[in-house]
């Protein structure tokens, strides 16, 4: 039978393909926001409403908080960062957009092949959840590794996290509300720190290209006046 979760998981794969090929940062943020809301809704969609009845209240709370943090708060924070630092697009990715898309597609093939050999049919709520989770994690890693802009790398981290959540809700792993909220707080703090880092990189180098961090060193200091305050070892 066709289920909502299947549609959501198919959209997840399409969003991964789109993320791998999109250079416009606002566009990528919107895609990640959509993924975040889907991640929030997924546990409710995978719940067996007919036989298990109405789930406990905390499932709704976790879904709502997940969707709010991953789908609304984080994208707003990153959108603010993008507007503030005035970076519109990823210009020179380390791996080109077309190639990234093909890599994500190869990941889809690989994930389906691996998931078919895992024999977790008894515990899994939706057969598609496992390959989709693997692909989403892979896409997140690809975005972290193959992009230069700090914003895109933060997005990659969020996508990776989304993949882990899909894996968790696909296998019906229950952490309890404290653990879930703890994970969310972790992500939020990390995105916050990364947001501040982006501003700092931008202020120092007038660009958010993380490659420039490789050139850091005493001889390459951008602000010579600070040199006096440093103590040399």
């Amino acid at each position: 039978m066709l289920t909502f979760s299947e549609i959501i998981l198919a959209l997840f794969l399409l969003a991964n393909l789109a993320l791998a090929g999109s250079g416009r940062l606002t566009h990528a943020i919107r895609l990640v926001a959509a993924q975040g809301i889907a991640v929030g809704a997924l546990p409710l969609l995978l719940w067996d409403w007919q036989s298990a009845g109405i789930p406990e209240c905390r499932l709704f709370i976790i879904a709502a908080v997940n969707a709010l943090v991953k789908g609304v708060a984080m994208p707003m924070l990153l959108g603010y960062a993008v507007r503030k630092i005035n970076t519109k697009r990823e210009l020179e990715p380390i791996i080109s957009f077309t190639l990234s898309r093909l890599i994500v597609f190869a990941m889809i093939i690989g994930s389906f092949a691996i998931a078919a050999r895992l024999h977790i049919h008894e515990t899994v709520a939706s057969e598609l959840a496992v390959p989709v989770a693997f692909t989403t994690m892979g896409t997140g890693l690809l975005l972290i590794a193959a992009r230069k802009k700090a914003v895109t790398q933060v997005l990659g981290f969020l996508v990776l996290e989304n993949g882990i959540s899909v894996f968790g809700s696909g296998l019906l792993i229950e952490h309890g509300i404290i653990v879930e909220l703890g994970i969310l707080l972790d992500i939020f703090a990390l995105a916050f720190i990364l947001g501040i880092t982006i501003f700092q990189i931008k202020r120092t180098f007038s660009s958010t290209d993380t490659d420039k961090l490789n050139n850091l060193g005493d001889t390459h200091l951008m602000h010579p006046q600070r040199h006096h305050h440093r103590t040399h070892a």
């Binding site: 066709l2 198919a10 399409l14 889809i108 389906f112 057969e127």
Partner: protein, 301 residues
């Protein structure tokens, strides 16, 4: 019944172009040229003589009639009535259908090269580049349909799924339909890939190939592309629609779906900008990946 549906299809073809244009006019706040504009244009053009470029050969003179003939053959071969179609369309393979459309393209290309204009050469070069990217998508979609329906003839590919199989496979069907819609837009030179309204601009593809075509030849070319629009839309419609018992209801449903696709195309053209030329191959590769995704989903379940 088969003859009637083929005649109905050939008569209705210009109407769907009119529906798309009227939708675009609605979104632009214009009154629009009316649904039947293309009929009037065709009636006017067909009575005119065909001035041809001075140095063009018999290729240019014969190209448009041959192109139209091959698209018409595709319309005859097309299984308008599903399993109740004539034996000719029941035995035709899907590859035959798309290569008949391809033959029409080849002759349009040859004519535009024969005219010897640099502009038309550029248009045909782009047309060939796009169709290179389109062919794999078409064959992946055909592969999905073969997997799904079990047969290889065009009629069995497009016979539609039973209601149970249809609800089971809604997601892969939607993915394949999405990929084929991209094929449809590019094959018919619609907006994200080409703009049918940009006459004499550097970005156009299909119109550039027809710059030296005039009179009755132009009528053939316009009617051919309207028919191609209808045929590819009907292919897409038959991919999506479930199985119908009565062939009359089925035919009406197909024409209704084609009209809906024409309206959607009008909306897409009104809300989207044309893709940068270098971006188009990326979009087409994306469509090929989506089509392969459909196969994965169908296989995995």
């Amino acid at each position: 019944m088969n003859i009637i549906s083929i005649i109905a299809a050939t008569l209705l073809a210009p109407l769907f172009i009119g529906i798309t244009n009227q939708t675009k006019a609605f979104f632009a706040g214009r009154k629009g040229p009316g649904l039947f504009r293309l009929y009037a244009d065709l009636a006017k053009l067909i009575r005119k003589s065909c001035p041809r470029p001075e140095h063009s050969t018999w290729i240019f003179a014969s190209a448009q009639p041959i192109a139209l003939a091959s698209v018409l053959t595709a319309a005859i071969v097309f299984p308008w009535n599903g399993p109740a179609s004539s034996s000719l369309s029941l035995s035709a393979s899907a590859a035959l259908f798309f290569y008949l459309l391809g033959t029409g393209r080849i002759f349009t290309l040859l004519a535009s090269l024969d005219a010897g204009s640099a502009f038309e050469g550029m248009g045909s070069s782009r047309e060939v580049q796009f169709s290179t990217f389109l062919e794999p998508i078409i064959f992946i979609v055909i592969g999905f349909l073969v997997l799904f329906s079990g047969g290889t003839s065009l009629a069995s590919l497009l016979s539609g799924a039973s209601t149970a199989a249809w609800t089971d496979n809604a997601v892969p069907i939607a993915l394949a339909a999405l990929a084929f819609y991209v094929v449809f837009l590019s094959e018919n030179c619609r907006v994200p890939f080409d703009d049918p309204e940009t006459h004499l601009e550097l970005t156009m593809i299909h119109e550039a190939m027809l710059l030296d075509t005039a009179g009755a030849d132009l009528a053939f070319a316009l009617y051919g592309s309207a028919l191609k629009f209808e045929l590819t839309a009907a292919f897409l419609a038959m991919m999506i629609l479930p199985r119908f018992d009565s062939s009359i209801i089925r035919l009406l449903a197909v024409f209704g779906a084609v009209a809906a696709i024409a309206i959607i195309t009008g909306i897409v053209e009104s809300t989207m900008a044309r893709l940068r030329f270098l971006k188009s191959p990326l979009a087409l590769i994306g469509a090929a990946l989506i089509a392969s995704l459909a196969i994965f989903f169908a296989l995995y379940r």
